[in-house]
Amino acid sequence: MSVATASGYLESLLQGRAQLPISPLAWLNRLRAEAVERVGALRVPTTHDEDWRFTDISSLTKLPFQPVHAASPLQTAEAERFYLEPATIRLVFVDGMYAPQLSTQVPGAAGDSGIVVTHLSAAVSAHATTLESHLGRHAEFCNNAFTALNTAFLHDGALIIVPRDVAVDMPVHLLFIATQKEAASYPRCLLIAESGSAVTVIEDYVALQQGVYVTNAVTEIALADNAHVNHIRVQRDSGQAFHIADCAVSLARASRYQSTSIALGARISRYNLNVQLAGEGAECAVDGLALITERQLADTHTCIDHIKPHGSSRQLHKCIVDGAAHAVFNGKIMVRPGAQLTDSVQSSRNLLLSGRAHVDTKPQLEIFADDVKCAHGATVGQLDSEEVFYLKSRGLSEMTARNLLTYAFGAEIIERIPVSSLRHRLKQTVLEHTQRN
């Protein structure tokens, strides 16, 4: 693939912008225009780019994915199976477009607290100043063609504002349903957790049916002092889809960010997670699980950036790779000169279930402070034959033994999700996945 055609490809994607309404906010129009300009200057990354060494997305450029402009008339009956019990505050987007008929309002009790869960375009007037200081300020698009594209299409999305000292008990479920083939969607989420607030947000990507489409998502999360955000991300797109996502998180003093990201779907997926510990004593736990098979590729790039002293980060990333699938993990831990007394642990553990399965894992430590504790490790292995024998010696079949061990490997991450119905559903998915084989 030549660079020229690749950049031509990005520009062809921009054609869909013609239908975008002009925003009443001048700065938002400017932001989009800057993004359009960047798209023009950037190109689709290739395996010659260090950051994309293992992830060949040239197949993406074979189809002229365009955004959907007419909202799909999706009915509750079709969307319901993706809902989570017990109740959540739910925003649903179908092919990237807000679906009011499927979304819920913030219920009375939570509403009184002043929490805002709405779609962006409804919030432009009421929250203009908040939006201006956050939207597009965390997810950098200067060198990222996909984030630039998403920003160029920035119009609607999810907005969550949790006011000062408010702890929301009910999880917020952001549900993105893909229904159309060859469509491009540009989901956008902005979560602002004001000081001392606490919230659990589930970002959930699902498909109504199998099909080739592209999801290009950007999420921005800002935690003020002492805020606590639990962010769960589940990517269960169609097995033929492309899923490219960028999440930028900024942590102020003594705030705590917990992230659990699960990648199950998509033919090719790429998730960039950038966590900046920008305030003293900030804390993050970043966990991930990729469970893939056949010819899937799941690429996770994380960067945990310790900027201020007394920060701590803990990361456990696991991949279960079957068939001829390929998992990529690149975990960068940056400790800047000002980040003394940082405490950081990173672990990448990978389970290969077939001879053709493949994983590339790369921890990347860049430490510029001297008084820090940083530990990291990576393992790649198969199921332990002694464990398999132990289970068989108790009467379990080879397959049951292997499934149980595979499940246990993944369950360690799933256990960390604080929403029991989702945990249960994911465990079920892992069991079904392992039983297929």
């Binding site: 132990y390 068989k392 010696s393 009467g395 061990l405 246990a408 369950a411």
Partner: protein
């Protein structure tokens, strides 16, 4: 106990086995009839655990000679899980830790698998919970062990108790307990031994691999075998264990050598 008309449960004839091409078992002969308790003693590295694992079907060991009949059928035609379902149970010298698999889930799964195989009904989680707690009481095990991962972080003695708990659930025909006593404190030894004794019937049999006479005070063997270099070199009654305790293994070996020389 020795019953005059008992039928043979296990018949081992000239068993040879290798690991990584090294011969460890060099011709073992052993007959176990139902109702009996056999103790196997012997120096470190003499092949006791290897013998136990070969009987359980561990694939790291290659059987290179001899035959083993279990209830009259060729044991080597059965996969490890089939042996377990048929009633062979090995309590491991070093039980394996399985992080991420909850002990209660594991126990129920194995119990139900074996029950189904024997044409009996499965227990649902609630029924099983009552059932397993009853068994745990017998072994004076805290129910807290149900919620933990299988053996993960268990102390040496706790792992051994968990093995005997599995034995109590699966009710094997032939139980092979590989050094179940080592790692147990004095009280635990008595409790576990009581458990094993309660499980002993006319229709099953136990092979105890042990280094210590102490266990045999609690679980009284009908036969004591001494293993050396992959062979059973001497067999006697429970007296033999006491003699070994006072004279050491050297005494048997030299007796053997003398016999061979004579």
């Amino acid at each position: 106990m020795i019953y005059p008309d008992s039928k043979s449960l296990l018949e081992v004839r000239g068993l040879r086995a290798t690991v990584n091409g090294i011969e460890i078992l060099k011709g073992i002969d052993l007959t176990v009839r139902s109702g009996e308790v056999h103790a196997i003693m012997g120096t470190n590295g003499s092949g006791k655990s290897t013998f136990a694992k070969v009987l359980a079907g561990h694939t790291a060991y290659e059987v290179t000679g001899g035959t083993v009949l279990f209830e009259g059928k060729n044991l080597f035609e059965l996969a490890p899980e089939e042996r377990a379902r048929a009633g062979v149970f090995l309590a491991f010298q070093y039980p394996i830790e399985i992080p991420g698999v909850a002990n209660n889930q594991f126990l129920r799964l194995t119990y139900n698998t074996v029950q189904t195989q024997r044409g009996k009904d499965e227990l649902d989680p609630l029924e099983f919970d009552d059932f397993v707690r009853e068994k745990m009481k017998m072994l004076e095990m805290s129910p807290d062990f149900l919620d933990r991962s299988v053996n993960a972080g268990f102390s040496g003695g706790e792992k051994k108790r968990n093995e005997i708990l599995q034995m109590a659930l699966l009710e094997p025909r032939l139980a092979i307990l590989d050094e179940t006593d080592s790692g147990l404190d004095i009280d635990a030894l008595r409790i576990v031994a009581n458990g094993v004794n309660q499980l002993a019937t006319r229709d099953n049999a136990t092979i105890l691999v042990t280094h210590y006479q102490r266990l045999l005070n609690y679980i009284v063997p009908d036969y004591v075998h001494v293993m050396e270099s992959g062979r059973i070199i001497k067999t006697g009654g429970k007296q033999l264990a006491l003699e070994l305790e006072s004279h050491g293994y050297d005494w048997v070996s030299s007796e053997q050598r003398a016999a061979a020389g004579a």
